[in-house]
């Protein structure tokens, strides 16, 4: 008669999980929960372990923190560009305003970092939102150009009127009490920004913000003010950016007009392109590649920017969707053998 043979075929493991995790049905095994949680846990674990691994080398510890700083600016860019439809080159503006605000609060009013950072974040974000309010009806490249003017304008104002320390800036700003306080404070804030925004964009309030990007006329016809909605989104983005600035100046104990440097507006775009636009996690990955890369390339001297440009071009040409989108796709295509 027939011989007993076991046939096997390959099966994707995400399909069933996807259906169950998007509806009311609870996941029904540890395997499925593990499948969903692994990427998140890996990201969190990497950043939680980073200070422990880098503690013998304080210099590289600082590089790790620069990753978080750039990651926060990039999250802010990604949120505005891909969820609200405002392509902002104002990263440096958020960052600089947060930085100067914290410097003034700390040196003039004597607030310790634990107070000056959150207060500077809130006041700075309010200031940035008010400053950008007149530009909110603009779209695309026009909004980008106007937001690019703001950091340049701030630099000129500070130089010309010799206010806020002029070209010297502020020195002697309080630092953090220790290596691990400094490290984990920033890592925690980055996770709050990342997971907070990721959750927010899927809530009803976040949906309204995304609707503005999709079709602002329909939002108006729904009795919702588009300008007000955009202002709220800009406030959220500037919170993230101002925090990065405020935190950074406490790390290095000084602030100057370099806080409004153009790099801080451009680098987040590069990180978002490499990491994957519209994912919010992608920019974090992008920052984790770009910052160490630029450190390693220091030895190349002036050739650094060439290598840097080649890496960027490579990503744009070969992985234009960005790392995160690519990896998500591959992860969802993981297959297993099942008996039939």
């Amino acid at each position: 008669m027939t011989t007993e043979t076991t046939h096997k075929r390959r099966e994707r493991i995400d399909r069933g999980i996807k259906v169950r995790s998007e509806s009311l049905y609870a996941l029904n095994s540890f395997e499925e929960i593990a499948y969903l949680l692994t990427p998140r846990v890996m990201l969190i674990a990497a950043f939680v372990l980073m200070p422990l691994i880098l503690s013998p080398w304080p210099y590289w510890g600082r590089v790790g923190l620069s990753v978080c700083i750039l990651a926060m600016l990039s999250i802010s860019f990604d949120f505005l560009a891909n969820y609200v439809g405002l392509v902002s080159l104002g990263g440096a503006f958020f960052y600089g305003v947060g930085g100067y605000m914290a410097a003034v609060l700390n040196t003039e009013l004597g607030l310790p970092p634990i107070l000056s950072i959150p207060v500077a974040t809130l006041l700075g974000a309010a200031f940035c939102t008010l400053a950008l309010l007149p530009c909110l009806p603009l779209r695309g490249i026009y909004f980008a150009i106007v937001t690019l003017m703001y950091p340049l304008l701030m630099t000129r104002i500070i130089e010309a009127f010799d206010i806020l320390g002029g070209t010297e800036g502020f020195r002697g700003i309080d630092g953090f009490s220790g290596f691990f306080t400094e490290q984990y404070g920033l890592i925690l804030a980055m996770f709050i920004a990342l997971f907070g925004l990721r959750r927010f964009v899927n809530m009803d309030g976040g949906l309204v913000i995304r609707a503005v990007k999709d079709n602002d006329q329909s939002v108006r016809a729904s009795g919702i003010s588009v300008t007000w909605t955009k202002a709220k989104a800009v406030f959220l983005a500037s919170l993230t950016g101002c925090f990065a600035g405020a935190y950074y100046i406490h790390m290095y104990s000084n602030v100057g007009i370099s806080s409004f440097a153009l790099d801080l507006s451009i680098m987040p775009i590069a990180a978002t392109i490499i990491g994957g636009a519209g994912t919010l996690v992608g920019p974090v990955l992008g920052a984790a590649i770009l910052v160490p890369l630029s450190e390693f390339l220091r030895d190349f001297g002036s050739l650094r920017i060439v290598v840097y440009a080649l890496v960027l071009t490579g990503f744009v040409v070969f992985r234009s969707e960005g790392l995160m989108n690519y990896m998500t796709r591959k992860y969802q295509q993981v297959e297993r053998w099942v008996k039939i």
């Binding site: 809530m203 009803d204 309030g205 949906l207 309204v208 995304r210 609707a211 999709d214 079709n215 006329q217 329909s218 939002v219 108006r220 016809a221 729904s222 009795g223 919702i224 003010s225 588009v226």
Partner: protein, 260 residues
């Protein structure tokens, strides 16, 4: 059509004009809409119908004239303020949120200040509840609840459903006046015949309607009054049969006798 015992004016348009440079898109048009009315606006292409409703809903600022709602002037107010007062419109070219599922499209209007204030939707509109309310509204509009249609991306829906989605956005706002910009156009005869009872039902619930239409036969089934426009000017206004037999309307639609 419901009968009207009291004629309470809800929307009054007085000598409204909208000029684009030298072009008089709408020229000195006056119209009074009473509570419970279904008013049809007809006219050939380019006769200023859509411009007129853009002026009413605030998407355009009229050059001259006034619009009042419940006796209060609303001329030149911002679109979202007018929508917030209960004048809600559909767009001729449908404007869904293509990247969202159909039911999420209605979560946007359900999150608006007006829906929170006068909605009275069940569940109080907390997060997640709006999803169920949205599916309720879609079901009322003919999206089969148990099918996958309400959960499909709006970008993949056929025209008929998108037209209903436009109406859904209005309904989510608990409107007093719905202005439909050609809801029947682009639909098959059978799709239209399923929409007509829906319009009658909404009107029966006390919602006043203004309908811009080219499909006159279907419009005349629901409208109790019709205004005809030609080259931005009001030609005539009255009961449907009077309007369609008006010589100038026949001329505008069919051309004058001399042309034959």
């Amino acid at each position: 059509m419901s009968t009207h015992h009291t004629k309470e004016p809800i929307l009054e348009i007085r000598s409204l004009s909208k000029h684009f440079g030298g072009v008089k898109a709408v020229d000195d048009v006056s119209l009074t809409v009473n509570r419970g009315d279904v008013v049809g606006i007809i006219g050939p292409n380019g006769s200023g119908k859509t411009t007129l409703i853009n002026c009413i809903t605030g998407f355009l600022k009229p050059t001259k004239g006034t619009v009042s709602f419940h006796g209060k002037e609303i001329t030149g107010k911002k679109p979202h303020k007018i929508a917030d007062m209960g004048i809600n419109r559909t767009f001729q070219i449908m404007r869904p949120y293509y990247s969202m599922p159909a039911y999420k499209n209605l979560v946007i209007p359900l999150s608006s200040p007006r829906a929170k204030r006068v909605g009275g939707w069940r569940g109080g509109g907390k997060h997640g509840d709006r999803d169920t309310v949205a599916v309720d509204i879609l079901e009322e509009l003919g999206f089969e609840r148990d099918s996958r249609v309400p959960y499909k991306m709006a970008g993949t829906l056929p025209t008929g459903y998108l037209k209903r989605l436009e109406l859904g956005r209005c309904l989510a706002l608990r409107p007093e006046l719905i202005i439909c910009d050609e809801v029947f156009s682009g639909l098959s005869a059978s799709e239209i015949s399923s929409l007509v009872p829906l319009i009658e039902k909404l009107n029966g619930q006390g919602i006043t309607m203004i309908m811009i239409e080219h499909r006159l036969a279907e419009l005349f089934r629901v409208a109790n009054r019709v205004m005809a426009l030609s080259y931005g000017e009001k030609v005539t206004e009255g009961a449907p049969d009077e309007v369609i037999n008006h010589p100038k309307v026949r001329e505008a639609y069919l051309g004058s006798e001399e042309d034959f």
